[in-house]
């Protein structure tokens, strides 16, 4: 009761049925057979795609660098197993469009032989900058789904001298339980990763926030964090989208991140538990990010589980391992059912962002029978960002995209609460994504036409200048000729005089 007054109110949100029980009670499966072929996209992160430094036919070891990061915000890509490079080419991306993107295709040799790199004796003797470098070199990105390069975030945290590191263990998406299992089974490793991150940011306070529907994970993490006074483990209410970084920051610290700001600017940085685990592996064992725990669940899955798979494993192989009934599968979703994207088929690779792969039956899906909006304002009530989805959608429907932007379209986080609650089954998030894409396209088109106009103007000016020049040259030439002839005539007349 007292909590009600002390804790800031959680704004908006919904309480979807959790449906985690199928996977949350079983250990993480670690004996996934190494696939024959792996498809490793060069872009598995926010920022610029990595640049390959191997050639077709090269033999590589597990964890060996395949493509290096380029630019300030980027991440390298490593070989998820040992084998031979078959191809570097465009293959369908794990995206609703399945449009081709650049991938490295690796034929595995089944030996799964690690590439050894030197390991520090005591990582806490390393400089904080060194921690960032190693994390960056291991290709670690935010594993909660945002896939922002972790090293960049560590650097920002260090530069801004943050006072709180929040470790996001909320896992508020239904179905998903990979973080829950990770916390239950590998709590000590996660806590070690948290300590390393604190060291890397020269910070001394971390809060691990876990939703109160995961009591076992909470208990395990509490025990693991006990020896370290700098790490606090707390329970947070179970409510979607509790795991939205800004919601969590407000709940834990009471601070609100201004629009257009990074959270580190107000002294807070947030990382996922899976990321902390990856940091532990990278620093303690020199292992790059080459696999991850994926929740495979949904009504059409025969053996739902959390399974550790090499990155680049085709979803179809994961489905075969988990005995998915493809005939019952009405929709394949990568990620959670609230924010995840539907995939057109299963022949697409798992990537660093793949927290889950769901094979949902028709009865699990929200009805797609769209009815007229009755302005019930349920979407306004549940929006954690304080937007009015119904008004935004009405404007987008009549192509008033600027009006939608004025209403806050750019502040939409695509959490899906409005679509979830809408009694008229209006695909609101889809409206917003469409509008955002359309706005970018229009800006690009406008930019392009401006560019074209500029080039045209330049060309006209240049042509004019040339024409003018030629005219002047011509005039000069004629004048010179006249002069020459005058001189000649003069000379002739002088000669004749003489």
């Amino acid at each position: 009761m007292l909590d009600f007054f002390i804790k800031p109110r959680v704004r908006g949100g919904v309480h979807p049925e959790a449906r985690k029980e199928n996977t949350a009670d079983e250990n993480i499966v670690t004996n996934f057979p190494i696939p024959k072929t792996l498809y490793i996209p060069l872009q598995q992160h926010v920022g610029k795609p990595a640049e390959p430094l191997i050639r077709v036919g090269d033999k590589v070891l597990k964890g060996q660098l395949l493509a290096y990061s380029q630019g300030l915000i980027s991440a390298p890509v490593h070989a998820p197993s040992s084998g031979i490079i078959l191809d570097v080419n465009d293959y369908p991306a794990p995206h609703p469009s399945a449009l081709p993107i650049r991938m490295i295709v690796l034929e595995t040799d089944g030996l799964d032989e690690w590439f050894t790199s030197p390991i520090p004796d005591d990582p806490f003797q390393l400089t904080p900058e060194d921690i960032s470098l190693r994390v960056g070199a291991a290709g670690i990105v935010g594993l909660g789904g945002a896939t922002f390069p972790t090293a960049v975030k560590l650097n920002m945290g260090r530069e801004n001298q943050i006072d709180t590191l929040i470790i996001n263990g909320s896992e508020c998406e239904p179905y998903l339980s990979c973080d829950d299992r990770l916390m239950q089974e590998r709590a000590e490793k996660i806590i070690d990763g948290v300590r390393l991150m604190l060291h890397g940011m020269e910070s001394h306070h971390a809060v691990v926030a876990i939703e109160d529907n995961k009591p076992l994970a909470f208990a395990a993490m509490q025990i693991a964090a006990k020896p370290y006074s700098s790490i606090e483990v707390m329970q947070i209410p179970t409510q979607y989208p509790m795991g939205w970084d800004r919601q969590l920051i407000r709940y834990v610290t009471g601070k609100e991140v201004p629009v257009g700001c990074r959270s580190s600017e107000i002294g807070v940085t947030i990382h996922n538990v899976g990321t902390a685990h990856a940091v532990h592996k990278a620093i303690r064992y020199g292992q790059a990010l080459v696999n991850r725990v994926v929740t495979v669940s949904g009504g059409a899955v025969g053996k739902p589980m959390n399974v550790e798979v090499p990155l680049g494993t085709l979803i179809s192989e994961v489905f075969a391992f988990c005995e998915v009934n493809l005939e019952d599968t009405a929709r394949i979703v990568m990620g959670g059912p609230m924010m995840g994207d539907s995939l057109p088929h299963a022949g697409l690779p798992t990537v660093k962002a793949t927290s889950g792969v769901l094979a949902l039956t028709k009865s699990e899906l929200k009805s797609s029978e769209v009815q007229p909006c009755i302005r019930c304002a349920a979407c306004v009530t549940v929006c954690p960002a304080g937007l009015r989805p119904l008004d935004m959608a009405n404007n987008i429907r009549v192509n008033q995209l600027d009006a939608a932007v004025d209403l806050g379209l750019k502040d939409c986080i695509s959490c899906g609460c409005c679509s979830y609650i809408c009694p008229s089954n209006i695909p609101l998030v889809q409206f917003f994504k469409y509008a955002s894409g359309e706005i970018v396209a229009r800006q690009q088109a406008q930019h392009k036409s401006e560019q074209t106009k500029r080039l045209m103007d330049d060309r006209n000016a240049r042509m004019e200048r040339i024409a003018k020049q030629q005219e002047e040259d011509e005039k000069a030439r004629i004048a010179a000729k006249a002069e020459r002839e005058r001189l000649k005539a003069e000379q002739a007349s002088q000669e004749s005089l003489a």
Binding site: P372, T381, V429
Partner: protein
């Protein structure tokens, strides 16, 4: 079109409640008060109720067909039936058949379809129809039948009810009378005071619904129970009913304390006329009310204020229809000025300042 595309983004799961479900929940909540009203006023009321509902469906079908849209889903969403249902509850129970037909025509055609159908209308269709009928046909709309429950000896039988519904009521004075609000308004105009006017008034009768009045508005008890159930179901929120009733009670209390002979008590306000029906079922109409909690509080308070003002000082004994329509017209304005604060921005929409630490 985009809408017909296979959804690619979330949420892939969702609540099962759809528009149809919501409409039927509201009707279910209205059921006790409706059943009581139909029983209380007997066969003529049943005739009127059925006629109003059927004609609403008829007009809806015509409109939808003229628009070239699929008829079945539009009818099945239950919105036309609910509109007619609400309208019927506000009509005098023994009104002739054409009142129901004309009322439904106004509600469905002018109140809803000319705006573009469900979700597009600015005003509550049932209230548009009620007010239009009241202004156009003042006699028929203020002829209030005596309480004459089904199967009571003095109540009209089935055959007699057809006569009442289709060719009018004879011997009007013996079978009809004034409502409490109407009587008070008339008596006040003759400079009588409340203690004289209310000699025969039964507070209990009015509260339970054993009184003259509109078909389904008499039983405050049953309407209130239905409304509370709707809140429990999460179909309506508490903001509008609470602020509407709260405003009326507050104003009535103040004036009643100042002068208890010329101003009705809050309890009397509450148990008379259409106040409770309006508070729980009409003002809470999603389409025509604001979409933020604060906006809804303002809207409810505005309705309450107008109801009290019209009842106390206006020409009409009851003002709930007018009050709702007036506040409906203010809804876009309320929604424009009262909106939620966007995360990370101040109320004006500017990004928050970075706190200095």
């Amino acid at each position: 079109m985009m809408v017909n595309m296979k959804p690619r983004s979330g949420a892939h799961i969702g609540t099962k409640a759809n528009v149809t479900f919501i409409m039927w929940q509201v009707m279910l909540a209205l059921m006790p008060a409706t059943a009581f009203g139909l029983w209380l006023f007997g066969w003529p009321a049943i005739n009127l109720f059925i006629i109003t509902l059927l004609s609403a469906v008829f007009f809806e079908v015509i409109c939808i067909q003229l628009q070239g849209r699929a008829v079945k889903p539009a009818i099945m969403d239950g919105s036309a039936i609910l509109t007619a249902w609400l309208l019927a509850l506000t009509l005098p129970p023994w009104a002739p058949w054409w009142i129901g037909v004309v009322g439904s025509a106004i509600a469905i055609i002018l109140g809803k379809q000319v705006y573009g159908g469900l979700g597009q209308n600015l005003f509550n269709p049932a209230m548009i129809a009620r007010v239009a009928l009241l202004i156009s046909f003042p006699i028929e709309m203020t002829t209030w039948a005596n309480v004459s429950p089904l199967f009571f000896s003095h109540s009209p039988g089935l055959v007699e009810s057809w006569h009442i519904t289709f060719s009018g009521l004879d011997n009007i004075d013996a079978k009809t009378g004034a409502t409490v609000l109407g009587m008070i308004k008339t008596e006040f105009s003759q400079h009588h005071i409340l203690s004289d006017i209310l000699k025969d008034y039964s507070g209990f009768g009015n509260f339970t619904g054993w009184a003259r009045g509109s078909l389904g508005e008499t039983s405050v008890l049953l309407l209130g129970l239905g409304g509370v159930w709707l809140m429990r179901q999460g179909i309506i929120q508490w903001h509008i009913p609470a602020s509407l009733l709260g405003t009326v009670i507050l104003l009535a209390s103040i004036f009643h304390l100042i002068d208890d002979q010329h101003f009705m008590s809050p309890l009397m306000h509450l148990s008379s006329g259409g106040l409770v029906l309006v508070a729980f079922f009409i003002a809470t109409d999603y389409v025509t009310s604001p979409n933020t909690p604060l906006g809804q509080l303002v809207f409810g308070a505005g309705c309450g204020l107008l109801i009290f003002v019209i009842r106390t000082w206006g020409a009409y004994p009851e003002g709930s229809g007018f009050a709702v329509l007036l506040m409906n017209s203010a809804t876009p304005l309320i929604d424009y000025y009262i909106k939620p604060r966007i995360y990370g921005r101040d109320r004006q929409g500017k990004p928050l300042e970075i706190p200095k630490s």
